[in-house]
């Protein structure tokens, strides 16, 4: 390897460059930033307001008192921000592949697993900025978790962001039909979001359908949401943590496999 690429400093510079570019591109895309912020706010301001009288919530952990519906739904909306963002940045990698930007990225001398993990971390960093902007606005709306919750939620957001980004990366690299966003909305984002604990607690779901409850309980997105929910109140949901860690490792492994030139799906496509 050449002089410049040796040592951890070179790796750190590569990681920094990848995150820097993602952040820069995000700030250039005003529409993406606005829609990323407006989407959860619509849910919070309108959907939650209408829903709060319909849905009563008993005291469930991590909440110590009865909570308003907008308080319950906030962690789910944080998850939704990350779900959209993860899918969007992974899909942009597929588009990048067509335009040549992906090729430029992959001819870096650093190992491909490192490049992909860096790319994921870059997407996660952008999604976390969005989540905090959302939480700030939600605070003015009366959703005020304890102060330390804003700190303890950070590692949870990193993990859940990695899981959703890795999932998007894996899906986009293997399933050709998912290369347009409408398809991803219908077949990935909506089912994952609605069949989860983001909008309603799972015990509520059980009352209407056991099958639906079981589907929700198999949905890794439910666990990402629960991880965020507990972390926002300074607590750890161990089951959620375990599921998210395992799912992240599985999706990430599959994505790296798919991008490995010796094994993955890239080499089988004519390009």
């Amino acid at each position: 390897m050449s002089r410049e690429t040796q040592g951890w400093r070179g790796w750190a510079r590569a990681l920094y460059g990848i995150v820097w570019r993602e952040g820069l591109r995000f700030t250039k895309q005003r529409e993406r930033f606005l829609s990323a912020l407006v989407r959860p706010l619509v849910w919070l301001f309108i959907f939650a307001a209408g829903f709060r009288s319909v849905l009563g919530l008993s005291i469930t952990p991590p909440y110590e008192t009865y909570v308003l519906y907008e308080v319950y739904v906030t962690p789910g909306l944080c998850g939704m921000i990350q779900l959209f963002n993860g899918m969007q940045s992974s899909l942009s990698m597929v588009y990048d592949r067509e335009t040549g930007a992906m090729r430029t990225f992959l001819i870096s001398p650093y190992p491909r697993w490192f490049l992909l993990v860096s790319k994921l971390l870059a997407g996660v960093a952008v999604s976390i900025a969005q989540v905090y902007a959302f939480l700030l606005i939600a605070w003015f709306w009366g959703v005020d978790p304890p102060f330390w919750g804003y700190v303890t939620v950070l590692p949870a957001l990193v993990l859940s962001g990695m899981m959703l980004g890795a999932m998007g990366l894996f899906l986009s690299s293997t399933i050709r039909q998912l290369e347009n966003f409408a398809g991803v909305m219908n077949f990935v984002i909506f089912p994952m979001f609605f069949a989860s604990s983001a909008l309603y607690p799972l015990w509520r779901m059980k009352e209407s359908s056991i099958l639906l409850h079981d589907i929700c309980a198999f949905n890794p997105f439910s666990y990402a949401v629960e991880l965020i929910r507990f972390a926002l109140y300074g607590q750890i949901n161990w089951l959620a943590l375990a599921v998210v860690v395992v799912a992240t490792a599985a999706f990430l492994g599959a994505a790296i496999y798919a991008y490995d030139p010796t094994k993955g799906s890239l080499g089988k496509k004519r390009g």
Partner: protein, 260 residues
């Protein structure tokens, strides 16, 4: 061996290590379709080698293998003596690429694009800054450094891509149809620029094209057709007293009107 005229002395030993690019017996299939069939090719250090072929001849596939977008399953590919499969990092560090499709971020400035590329190669901040000024002056775009790529003309964007490809001081520059879509003037400028860089910096270039007028009589050429290398050598020797167009058509057996 077909490329014996290009290999300065056989296929092993230290001489091989001096080549900027050495490809031997590489084949590649997409399912049942054979894209490359036993391709061997050498680019000596500091030389300009034109890879001639019509669209679909296999040029882009060959470039994808050299840049390790796909892995070569048969044969060997060495960049500056580093095997692309066994030491991909070392090989890629010696490689600068200008892809056929535009590959700059349109929303970012030239400087930002170069910074990103330098970071991907682990270059230090100070080195990046110095090299950016140097390379952008070499391609004649110093006044456009802070301009967004979207505002550049096709020829300017190509020159910026060449500057970017050379940021990390590679020993081999790959250019895949770098002049496609450019007007005549920009096309001539880009070809002249690459030749100048080779002459001054000693970097080698593999120039894939179907535009035969970009080739000079003393260039090394390889003719790729339907996945096979038909011939390799100095253009003048291959042509004899024919024009290059005629030699190319005779070799490939293509009818006159299909040639671009």
């Amino acid at each position: 061996m077909i490329n014996a005229g290009l290999c300065l002395g056989g296929t092993h030993g230290y001489i091989q290590r001096m080549h900027a690019l050495h490809i031997e017996s590489v084949s590649h299939n997409f399912g049942k379709l054979t894209a490359l069939d036993d391709v061997s090719l050498t680019v000596p250090q500091g030389r300009f080698v034109a890879l001639l072929g019509v669209n679909g001849a296999g040029k882009t596939t060959l470039f994808s293998l050299i840049t390790r977008l796909y892995d070569n399953v048969s044969g060997t590919i060495q960049v500056a003596g580093h095997d692309v499969r066994r030491a991909p990092g070392a090989a890629l560090a010696q490689l600068g690429v200008v892809f056929q499709s535009r590959a700059l971020d349109r929303d970012l400035t030239i400087r930002q694009n170069l910074f990103y590329h330098a970071a991907l190669h682990g270059m230090t901040r100070a080195d990046t800054r110095a090299r950016t000024e140097e390379m952008i002056a070499r391609v004649g775009l110093s006044d456009k450094l802070e301009a967004k790529v979207a505002t550049l003309s096709g020829g300017q964007a190509r020159r910026a891509e060449i500057a970017r490809a050379l940021m990390h001081r590679p020993r081999l520059l790959l250019l895949d149809e770098a002049t496609v879509g450019l007007d005549v003037k920009s096309r001539l400028e880009v070809v002249a620029l690459v030749r100048e860089l080779i002459r001054d910096d000693g970097v080698a270039a593999l120039w894939a094209t179907h535009l035969l007028d970009e080739v000079r009589p003393d260039d090394l050429i390889s003719v790729l057709h339907r996945g096979k290398i038909l011939t390799s050598g100095v253009a003048r020797d291959i042509c004899g007293d024919r024009p290059l167009e005629q030699a190319f058509l005779d070799l490939t057996g293509l009818p006159q009107e299909q040639e671009a």
